[in-house]
Amino acid sequence: MPETTVEESVRKYSTLAIPSQEQLLYGVCPHPLECGLGLTIGAGTVFPEVNFTLPPMNMTDETWPEVVAHYEQMAEQILRRAVSLGVPGIVLEFELLPPMTEKPEWGAELTAILKRHMRASHEKHKLACALRVTPTDIRDQSKPPLMRSGQAWERLKRSLELCADAGADILSIESIGGKEVHDQALMYGDFPGVVFALGVLAPRDMSWLWGQIHHICAARPGVICGGDSACGFANTAMQLAHQKMLPEVLAATVRAMSAVRSLAAFEQGAVGPSKDCAYEGPVIKAITGYPISMEGKSASCAHFSPVGNIAAAMCDLWSNESVQNVRLLSGNAPEVFTELLSYDCRLMNTAAGAGGALQMRDWMTLSDEWLSPQAAVLSPKATIRIATAIVSEDSPYRQTIAAGRAAVEIMKDGVNQQKLHLSRKEQQWLTRIDGVLESLPREGETLMHDLESQYGSLYDKAGYGLE
């Protein structure tokens, strides 16, 4: 199996940029990022990142003016509320819906509208701000998905380019390489399949895709190569665990392992801020030193999470994930969530300004840490442990296994110290995952061959550079 070589990668991480948990704080990172209109992320201040979407409606040529009107309204109201609250800066994230990526001109038109509003706010109110644009990864339209060629990839690439040209300051994506195998493996609790998807397929696609995005950004000065999210992997597991469909210990292990595929974006030139729904972000921050976006309690408009406070402990941007443009008593939901995020950030920044960032971080951590296995792997201490395990190995496959082992050890320690309480079934699954991790072959190629009859028909080998 051809491996991605050091020469092909922009960077390879073998040490931690933030080596101790005491230095792993919200709002600060070794490599702050200047972007957009006067915004610097990771230099001591946490900013809100507001994400918004349409209410239930058809998206067609006929309804397009209505779609445009929604985005005009959302931008205007979000920025107005931000100015009213005197936020020191703000990021708006425009996550394209599939039709907006299918028709790249649509996504670009909306990008330009949002940027126009942001420029006006910056000029009139000196509001520091940046626009993150996230096209949809539509490459899974065919079965098996075509990752590196075909109409879907061409449209996605065009969407990234047009959005960058239309005013995006940060490009991101929630990429789906390996998901076609991961979905099935996760549903059937087949842990070797999960490792194969996360440790072999996903990093290979990430390396290729982020190499492409890096080229797009490099050709457009001022456009930043943001970061990815294991949303389709670890957040899927998190939501299924929430619904008691999957064990929480499995979701927690998947989260830790998913950091390796998300790290591949940074190896290929991403500089952050990583995506808000990438709860693996703290591991990325510890390894790379670049700023991250996170979401938690103020993203409950979009989904449940057992990590509402702890997710903020190391963030540089604080997001609401997504909210529909529907009317609430105090205004439309996007501006309402702008206010929620603004107050969250103001409290964190005030604590930091008074020298209390570490205390604040630890309170946010302690309030969640042992109430869920998924929170247990997200503490600063656990983050350093997982990050250290990752940089200690030399291939994405072995890094993924190392991250999984670290997560299992963190949970076992929590149980042994009687801090983490697991049901009998959860404990059985933890033991099972531990056993599988110990029994996996040393090389990803061997695992791929072992699983060929099970998963070979689900993915296109050429799409992962495996032929």
Partner: protein, 212 residues
């Protein structure tokens, strides 16, 4: 009624190979297919469902049991058909046009299959025309539609309208589900039912078929 403990346990433990072997052994011993279904397979899947509801089983155990059940049914289907027995209820399932999310749809499909239904999965981004064609060509009793995005929800109504316009709406029950979908929305667009969970969807299909 003849009961195969081995088949019952194999399904409960999600062991497809054992289930297949136990079925073959029972058939060789002269056990009637319908007796195997009623005596071992249905009780096993009922117990699996009970364990899932009691949070003793997660989805993986549920799906593996379904896979074991399916492997046993593979041996029985031709025999049942030859004997003129009524085949399982047929369900067509798909994620609506414009929407690529499929994990929820896959779980529902797998759970239906594990519960003995014949499932035809149309995949994701399924146009109204494809749903209509599936009804006309495959003659299902039930259609299940999934959507995860607010902007793809309206495709559920478009599909129901297309079924009506094609004159096949009365031939099928239509169920909908997905994160942004509600029972209120199901009523508004003229669906026959909505479930917020995969296990609920199985119960809903059973109920609708029983009352049809």
């Amino acid at each position: 009624m003849a009961k195969s403990e081995e088949l019952y346990n194999a399904i409960l433990e999600g062991d497809a190979k054992r289930a297949h072997a136990a079925t073959a052994e029972a058939l060789a011993a002269g056990v009637v297919p319908m007796d195997l279904i009623a005596g071992s397979m249905v009780p096993a899947m009922d117990e699996v469902g009970r364990l899932f509801e009691a949070e003793e089983y997660f989805v993986p155990e549920l799906l593996l049991a379904g896979r074991a059940m399916k492997s046993a049914l593979e041996l029985l289907r031709p025999l049942l058909a030859a004997a003129g027995e009524k085949m399982a209820t047929r369900v067509v399932i798909g994620t609506v046009k414009g929407d690529l999310h499929d994990i929820g749809k896959n779980i529902v499909g797998s759970m239906l299959e594990g519960s003995g239904f014949e499932v035809i999965d149309l995949g994701t981004d399924v146009s109204p025309e494809k749903f209509v064609a599936a009804v006309e060509e495959r003659n299902p009793q039930v259609i299940c539609m999934s959507a995860l995005l607010t902007v793809t929800m309206p495709a559920m109504k478009t599909t129901i309208d297309a079924l009506t316009n094609a004159g096949v709406r009365t031939r099928v029950k239509v169920l909908i589900g997905g994160a942004p979908v509600t029972s209120q929305y199901a009523k508004e667009i003229g669906a026959d039912g909505y479930s917020e969970s995969a296990s609920g969807a199985v119960g809903l299909v059973r109920g609708l078929i029983a009352n049809a």
